[in-house]
């Protein structure tokens, strides 16, 4: 696992792509701003119009940063889950974490009409949504981890996660049934996902948790690589299975939880990007795969977000639809072409 040099070219190209799509993402939007001003504004200068400066600094830049964090974070979570469960179908949402977040938000929005008007305000701030989603994600996660420590088989955890997922969806359905159209609509909008609307304060909270999560993944590279041989071999190589498993679950839930809290449940990315990375880099070494997956995830979400804005239009399509609409065919095509799918 020492031949990382041959991947230098890959990483260089991906980094350039990331910067290109970052600029492209920021330069697209309902107001067209000359590229020169965008460049100036991003490199510390001031755009030639005040409104342009505000749009770039307070709207487009936070949105682009969110896209990068959401894309890379979810993709890494997907990779961790696929290796931990040695199942190519695993993604960040298999543990029921996003369902937990959804339940939190559903209780906040839909519950307000079911349980009386205590929360009935005109709308809910991002903070309220984020906190509700985090609590929901955390509760479901705790339940999954408690259950996980009682079963020896990792595959059972996968199923337990899926069960928690369907349980929470059922509760949401019941809540929705008794809710009013307005609340259901509001919940639907949250579930469409959104990368925008984050203030710099919210963004900084997001970023701190994101960075903690990403940095922790480096500590589990070794157990992840040993998991490629299965749990018994990993154990015989001196890996503390339970501890590594809990750290991996914790990282995933922290990242998925915070991402879902701030941007809604975003589909496809976590499952598909790791496979794209595995195909492009054709390696299973996590020392390479983790940064590769993060880079590709960030680029893909920037592209999806650029498409969602429908250049020169007033509308913004739901990001959740775009990721699946453009991502799923890509993955299907890749699979048909390569025919083999790896853990």
């Amino acid at each position: 696992m020492n031949s990382s040099n041959k991947y230098t070219k890959h990483f260089l190209i991906l980094s350039v792509l990331l910067i290109v799509f970052l600029f492209l993402n920021i330069s697209l939007g309902s107001v067209s701003i000359p590229f020169k001003d965008i460049f100036k504004s991003l490199t510390g200068g001031i755009a030639s119009k005040d409104s342009w400066q505000t749009i770039i600094v307070n709207f487009r830049l936070p949105k682009a940063i969110t896209a990068i964090m959401v894309g890379s974070g979810l993709s890494i979570c997907g990779l961790l889950m696929q290796t931990l469960f040695r199942n190519p179908l695993a993604g960040p949402f298999v543990l029921g974490i996003s369902s937990g977040a959804s339940l939190g938000v559903a209780l906040l929005i839909l519950g307000s009409s079911v349980f009386g008007g205590a929360f009935l305000l005109a709308g809910f701030s991002n903070w309220a949504l984020a906190i509700a989603a985090s609590i929901g994600a955390f509760l479901v996660l705790s339940a999954v981890i408690i259950a996980a420590n009682r079963v020896r088989n990792t595959m059972s955890i996968l199923i337990i996660g899926l069960m928690f997922g369907s349980l929470t969806s059922a509760v949401i359905s019941v809540l929705a049934y008794f809710s009013e159209a307005e609340q259901i609509q509001q919940y639907m909008f949250w579930s469409f996902g959104s990368l925008g609307n984050l203030t710099w304060t919210e963004l900084s909270v997001f970023a701190i948790i994101y960075i903690i999560g990403i940095l922790s993944t480096f500590a589990v590279i070794k157990p992840l690589n040993s998991f490629l041989l299965g749990e018994n071999y990993a154990k015989s190589l001196g890996i503390n299975i339970k501890k590594s498993r809990n750290i991996i679950l914790l990282i995933t839930s922290l990242l998925t939880g915070v991402i879902t809290a701030f941007s809604g449940p975003i589909a496809f990315v976590g499952l598909a990007i790791p496979h794209i990375a595995k195909m492009l880099f054709s390696t299973s070494n996590h020392k390479i795969l983790i940064p590769a997956t993060a880079l590709i995830g960030a680029i893909v979400l920037l592209i999806c977000d650029s498409i969602a804005q429908l250049p020169t239009s007033e509308f913004t399509l739901p990001i959740n639809a775009i990721t699946s609409l453009f991502g799923a065919p890509v993955v299907i095509w890749l699979l048909i072409r390569k025919k083999k799918i790896y853990v």
Partner: protein, 278 residues
Amino acid sequence: MVINKKKENLRLILSKSEKHIVLKTENLSIGYQTKKQQTIIASSINLSVEKGKFIALLGKNGIGKSTLLRTLSKVQKPLEGSIKINQKELSTYTNQELSTSLSLVLTERLPLSQLTVFELIALGRQPYTNWIDKLSPNDLKKILWAIEETEITHLKDKRFYELSDGQLQRVLIARALAQDTEIIILDEPTAHLDIHHTFKVFSLLKKLVEKTGKTIIISTHEINLAIQLADEFILLTEKEIHSGTSKELINQNAFEKLFPKELISFNKTLEQFIIKKN
């Protein structure tokens, strides 16, 4: 003959001095423990395994060979009794400590990944690498040595799923070698192999024991081959457990007890099981 005699004497001397016993069990019971009941598979197992021996664990299907190997390698807890590896109680070993004394070759299929043969063998160095799994020059040296000893240099850059069963088995043995442990335990290493590759694996293991002084314990159904190549045997039968060299065990008529007598019997002069003719 003279050399053999010398070896024999040496063995006697070695067996007298305790420190060359790498693995010792006392009054060991193996099986499964659930909340409600205990399923004992075998009990009062007293083994002592010397350094540098090629040991074959024999017994019919379902008699508990895998359970014994799993218990000896700390995958599974013993029900009773003690297991000592290098005079230290197995239960007091951490995974990390044990990984430098004992390595495994298992029968389970590897998850489908894109690991190359080299990477797979390099994973054997994990007990010695730093937190980010960087290979030192010494690690590389051990890996290349393991690859050379198992004669798989030409497969080094292939992906492991491209290999035949026989090739993969040698790669897994190389991985265990790279782990550089005193004891290597292999669970049915020749399970899916043809007679040629079965012999190849057996003679490779024999060579490794002689050359490196490692202790290799295998479970196998290739009794006729094992009798020719292994130094000592552990026989699991319904009633008792026998251990010793093939000569000792033949004299005790122990091989006879391995299987029901209707179909096959052990021929002492041929030192083989033969089919009963009616």
